[in-house]
Amino acid sequence: MKKNNLNIHNLITYGIVVAAFLFVSILVWTGNASRHLQAMLVPIGLNIILAVSLNLIVGFLGELTLGHAGFMSVGAYAGCLFAIKYAEILPTAVRFPLAMIIGGLVACVFGIIIGVPVLRLKGDYLAIVTLAFGEIIRSIIINLEFTGGASGLKGTPQNSNFYIVFVVIMITLVVITNLVNSRAGRAICSIRDNRIAAESLGINITYYKLLAFVIAAFFAGVAGVIYGHNLSILQASVFDYNRSIEILVIVVLGGMGSIRGSVIAAVIITALPEMLRSLADYRMLIYAVVLIAMMLLNGSQKFDKYKGRMNIGGLFTLLKNKKSAKEAG
């Protein structure tokens, strides 16, 4: 019975994404999608991938990191450098997926490097160290010759499109949800809930922490490669800590540990500033106000009653609680 619930829950998440994809596709095919909307699809998709993977670290493992953009950047540079080198030699159908895998794997290596301090540090100390790692990576990229330095890396074929992003989103969702619902995922969650108890059960904390970092880094790296293939220029400056924070905002808004929440929040947070363009000068001000308001609705007890409506992840816990309350009598 429980397994069924879980499967249905996951299927709903997949269903939402597929339905949204079909809806947008129809808009595009019928010529009803504005260019602005079409241009936003890839960035939205990227944020979904990034948020879902970051959720593995923040929501499930329970560690705060501010360096997700760092993983994204090493993935992007690795994948794009590969793609530029083989632009003429390999056909897109081979080159692009290969670039994604290379980007993902290189990010994994960095995931391990960054994972090591994770084993010793907690909370805000870890946050600052991951932030520092991200900034170090960025600083080094800017100072290297072959990355194009400050002027950026040019010449990556522009192969990204909405359809590819959709496929990668689905893969990310399936992998992360399946992982979370497996033996390894349970171990990862147990570290979040009570590290000492997990140790007492013989759960290898080191291994699972690194695993979470490596898997999250992989998808961030893949997202980076797609990013690099979406624009004709790749600049290190976009991967600063503000970018990491943006992804973190999505995860928190969507509800920590809620994959579906991350997906929906990614759409909201990416689209919101674009939607506010018509406000011209007041755009960022309103964005800030909306962000604060959303967090207050999300976290304030005063709004507990309405919580489900704002926090997508919360909606489902609320329903679940109601149900178990009923069951309990």
Partner: protein
């Protein structure tokens, strides 16, 4: 007039109705026991009285003042102390600092010193460990500290949530003696206990709580001889 009066108290945790219309009274100078199984709602009631939780409905009066809308810190200033469940001592502060904080609402230094002496007399272990960081005390030591800290405010009424939990037998006796002493010193006591036998021995009256409702009430002796109580709470 009752010193503390609770009327038709209703408390919810989200959608869960934890307290379902509880009423009781504590008169000045009494020791009142509140007993009940795990999860009956004893802790919830204490938390609501001292203002850490807002009730859904009902009245709480302390010496004629309405406590429902009164913030917790003001309630303490009115002379109510609470030894909370799980002790809630300040883990990173030393034993002495914890005790000092207990006297936060008091002004006179000499009175505070006197209280400190009294606490040390009751719990010599605390004096031995006065400069130890409280978080590393053993479970029992932490419990002593929590009680000592509450006494530091020289309260009119003290609410205790399972003070004997995790305490070795000898000290349990001491703690109950302490409660007697506190009571004979004029402080009113509202005692929540799993150890019903000991609690009833030292209290004037008692209330039995079952899943958020008062199931039984009466004076302690009566309850001790009540067949249901014997079976359910005294383990006889």
């Amino acid at each position: 007039m009752a010193m503390l009066r609770v009327e038709n108290l209703e408390v919810f945790y989200g959608v869960i109705r934890a307290i379902k219309g509880v009423s009781f009274e504590v008169n000045e100078g009494e020791v009142i026991a509140l007993i009940g199984a795990n999860g009956a709602g004893k802790t919830t009631i204490l938390h609501t009285i001292t203002g850490l939780i807002q009730p859904h409905a009902g009245k709480i009066e302390f010496e004629g003042h309405d406590l429902v809308k009164t913030p917790a810190y003001k309630i303490v200033q009115m002379g109510m102390a609470h030894v909370p469940e799980g002790r809630r001592i300040f883990q990173q502060l030393t034993v002495l600092e914890n005790l000092r904080l207990g006297a936060f609402t008091r002004k006179s230094n000499s009175e505070i010193q006197a209280s400190l002496k009294r606490v040390y007399r009751s719990f010599p272990r605390l004096e031995e460990r006065k400069n130890q960081v409280a978080g590393t005390l053993s479970g029992g030591e932490q419990q002593m500290l929590a009680m000592g800290r509450a006494l530091m405010s020289d309260p009119k009424i003290i609410l205790m949530d399972e003070p004997s939990k995790g305490i070795s037998p000898l000290i349990v006796m001491e703690i109950f003696n302490m409660i007697r002493e506190i009571s004979s010193g004029g402080t009113t006591v509202l005692l929540v206990e799993q150890n019903a036998k000991k609690a009833l021995e030292i209290s004037n009256r008692a209330y039995v709580l079952e899943t958020g409702k008062i199931a039984l009430e009466g004076n302690a002796e009566e309850l001790m001889n009540n067949e249901n109580v014997k079976k359910a709470y005294l383990g006889e």
